[in-house]
Amino acid sequence: MIRYLIKKLITLFLLLFLVSITVFSVLFVLPGDPAQIMLGINATPETLANLRSELGLDKPFIIQYVNWITNLLTGKGNRSINYDMPVYDLIVSRLAVTGPLALMAMVFAVILSLPFGIYAARHQNQPGDVTVMFFTQLGLATPEFWLGILLMLLLSVQFGWFSAGGFPGWSADFLGSVKSLILPAFALGVIRASILTRLTRSSMLEVLREDYVRTAWAKGLKERTVIYVHSLRNALLPILTIMGLQLGQLLAGAIIIENVYYLPGLGRLVFNAIGQRDLPVVRDVVLFMAAAVVMVNFIVDLTYAYIDPRIQIK
């Protein structure tokens, strides 16, 4: 277990190193000068030069890279050009929106997908199965932003049940904050639920054909025991893998939905930062996202062993 952890940690650092070089080089060669974007098109060349040297943009590639990494490793941190505050604080405050949003979306996805997937598998090729499959097709084909706008127009503008977007802040209004995440989380959850439903169905179908399930039926076990204890646990592995990937992807930014509902989340932060060439923010957030995806997958690895004791973590 310890060796496994060390191995994972080394991979994590190696990966982050590669990501850091890539993101730094890409941003370095990307056309667009942060100082120019900040000061606008009527700024004088003198002011531009002053700002560039203030931001350290006039230094060579290697020095800029080393400065960035040193700031990260020594805990000094980097500062956002646009927001004039530590990037670390920005990430933490944005994660307070994106984190719960991603989790809520996954909860919606799981609540919808597992029952429907199991139901479809149990009634393969019957009308119920066909109906579920039809709706998953529809869910897969529906663009997130469109569903988001549709939900907003119907439930916020027409019925006034939800606010049409925005985020009041956890400490200011806890219930309001939960409420403001429901619609976007649902919009995000539907497409993921569609994928998971189909996956649950096919995975369950495979397991249900196994010999030991037939034995379980033959023993006269109750349907609930056969499905939920004997079959589902075995069918869960591929589902978990995909769920891990989905969660990582959601953490890395539900950019479009965050824009539709103008939620101050991580995706919108990095989206705007790219447009504004707020380089310290883009770099740090990309690194953070890479680390988050690796961490989520690591947790998924650990749960494998929990669900299927035959898998040992070495």
């Binding site: 056309p31 098109i41 700024a43 050009i81 505050m85 405050s93 049409a164 101050p264």
Partner: protein, 498 residues
């Protein structure tokens, strides 16, 4: 007795009407204003981004002079100013008893420090040239500021009224970008990055009657349909800047809301690289000017919400000359000029459109169609903003592009041959120099007018339209500016009808 009765009777009749016409503002209430772009910092003296001025100008920060809703220069922190007969000396009388939100007093020393800071070596003020014409600053007492200019500067007062010249406190200025401290009617409370900026009523504002509102929140919503949904759902009260024009007429019909189709200082132009072939040929540029149907552009791009312009000057700015008839829509004439220029079969060119501005993308498509009709085939390329600034604006690697220039009084950019238009005209530079040194109103009007004419005649760029500000709001929101003669969403006198 009879007379008295009659007078009382008449007064009683008139009174209700006069009350109805001059509605008295009521104090209190909070207002949520939405604007599309989140400002990059909140310090207008370190960044020209229009999004900053829209949040802080006249709300949090004030300068010596303000621009009011009619575009007039009115007293801000200076109660009056006198200009010496030679036009080089300015004496500002400063307002007494003004303090910053952190308690620091405002006086002549503070004003002097602010100006010196803007003009110093190593300044990050984007427009040090606004201040560098100042030769000497004197402060004979706490409330008198005397500035001696090296030369006459016709735009000096206009520049002192811009966001670049607002007054910051001497102690609390360092964090101006994240925690602004000014003298304005509203005090900064917090900025939740990515979401909103909150400000509350400044109880110690120098005008005890203002502001009417207790709280103002600026919310940043980029998506046009999300803005409208938020207004309809009651999450916001005002769409402060540019409601999507395709949604404007529908909103205007709804009695719960009002939409203002006022003017702005922004000129939307098809910028042309005057050194790139074939646009270095004046005849080609004039041919394009004839080929463009401005009214159709306004209809198709802005759904009618815009005013055609014939030069780089907004109709809302003083000394405007209407030059829209210089090159009326005339495709035949355009073709003739192309033949004269040596392009009887037209030519192919590319137009690069910045993706962040939807008007720019739409206008590009409409113009490409109009130019095709005279034989000029445009290849449209949509580019990202950072790319635009780097390749087009800085490196001038382009033929045509489409952009709105939002600052007022910015015709001086045509005097710079290195500006991205690459327009080099001694005649214009002379006229502009004369305009800047014009000693009186008549001379200013003459020479600023001449400047407009020269660039119109040279068809430097495709001059298209001045966009409407298109603010939309709930019907109860009163006193919102109809026109935007400066870049601001000033909430000082806004109130909410109960």
């Amino acid at each position: 007795m009879k007379k008295l009765f009659f007078i009382t009777f008449v007064l009683a009749l008139i009174l209700p009407f006069s009350l109805a016409f001059a509605e008295t503002p009521v104090s209190g209430g909070s207002l949520v204003v939405c604007q599309p772009a989140e400002p990059p910092g909140l310090n207008p003296t370190a960044n020209t981004a229009a999004a900053i001025d829209r949040v802080v100008y006249s709300n949090i920060y004030e300068g010596l002079i303000k621009v009011n809703s009619n575009g007039e220069f009115v007293p801000g922190l200076a109660t009056k100013w006198d200009v010496s007969p030679d036009g080089k000396g300015y004496t500002f009388r400063l307002r007494k008893g003004v303090s910053f939100h952190n308690g620091e007093p405002f006086n002549a020393q503070v004003a002097k420090w602010n100006i010196e800071r803007a003009m110093a070596e190593g300044t990050v003020n984007p427009h040090p040239e606004f201040f560098r014409g100042i030769d000497k600053i004197e402060t004979p007492d706490d409330y008198t500021l005397i500035l001696a200019l090296k030369e006459v500067d016709a735009l000096f007062i206009a520049h002192m009224a811009e966001g670049d010249a607002v007054m910051l406190p001497m102690k609390g200025y360092e964090n101006a970008a994240s925690e602004p401290i000014g003298t304005g009617p509203f005090k900064f409370v917090k900025w939740i990055r990515g979401d909103r900026v909150e400000m509350v009523r400044n109880e110690k504002y120098w005008n005890p009657k203002l502001p009417y509102l207790d709280k103002v929140t600026f919310k940043f919503i980029g998506d046009a349909s999300a803005q409208v949904a938020a207004l309809k759902a009651g999450d916001i009260d005002v769409i402060g800047y540019i409601l999507a024009p395709e949604l404007a007429s529908q909103m205007a019909k709804d009695s719960r809301f009002k939409v203002f189709a006022g003017t702005t200082t922004a000129e939307v132009i098809m910028s042309t690289n005057n050194k790139a072939k074939p646009f270095d040929n004046k005849l080609v540029r004039q041919a394009m000017a004839y080929a463009i149907d401005r009214q159709a552009v306004i209809e198709l791009v802005m759904f009618g919400y815009g005013t055609p312009i014939g030069s780089h000057w907004s109709p809302s700015t003083p000394y405007y000359v209407d030059l829209t008839e210089k090159f009326p829509h005339n495709p035949k004439k355009a073709k003739q000029l192309l033949v004269q220029a040596g392009y009887p079969n037209g030519f192919e060119a590319s137009i690069k459109l910045p993706a962040i501005y939807s008007y720019s993308k739409r206008a590009g498509e409409v113009i490409a169609d109009q130019l095709t009709q005279v034989g000029i085939k445009l290849e449209i390329e949509i580019v990202e903003w950072g790319y635009w600034l780097d390749r087009i604006f800085k490196q001038k690697d382009y033929q045509l592009t489409m952009i709105g220039h939002s600052e007022a009084w910015d015709i001086g950019i045509y005097a710079n041959p290195n500006y991205y238009f690459q327009y080099d005209s001694q005649e214009f530079r002379d006229a502009y120099a004369k305009a800047l040194k014009a000693p009186n109103e008549a001379q200013k009007a003459k020479w600023f007018g001449r400047c407009q004419e020269i660039i119109a005649e040279d068809a430097v760029n495709g001059f298209l339209f001045s966009a409407s500000g298109l603010p939309a709001m709930k019907a109860e929101v009163m006193n919102w500016w109809e026109n935007y003669p400066t870049i601001a969403l000033d909430c000082t006198e806004v109130w909410i009808k109960k």
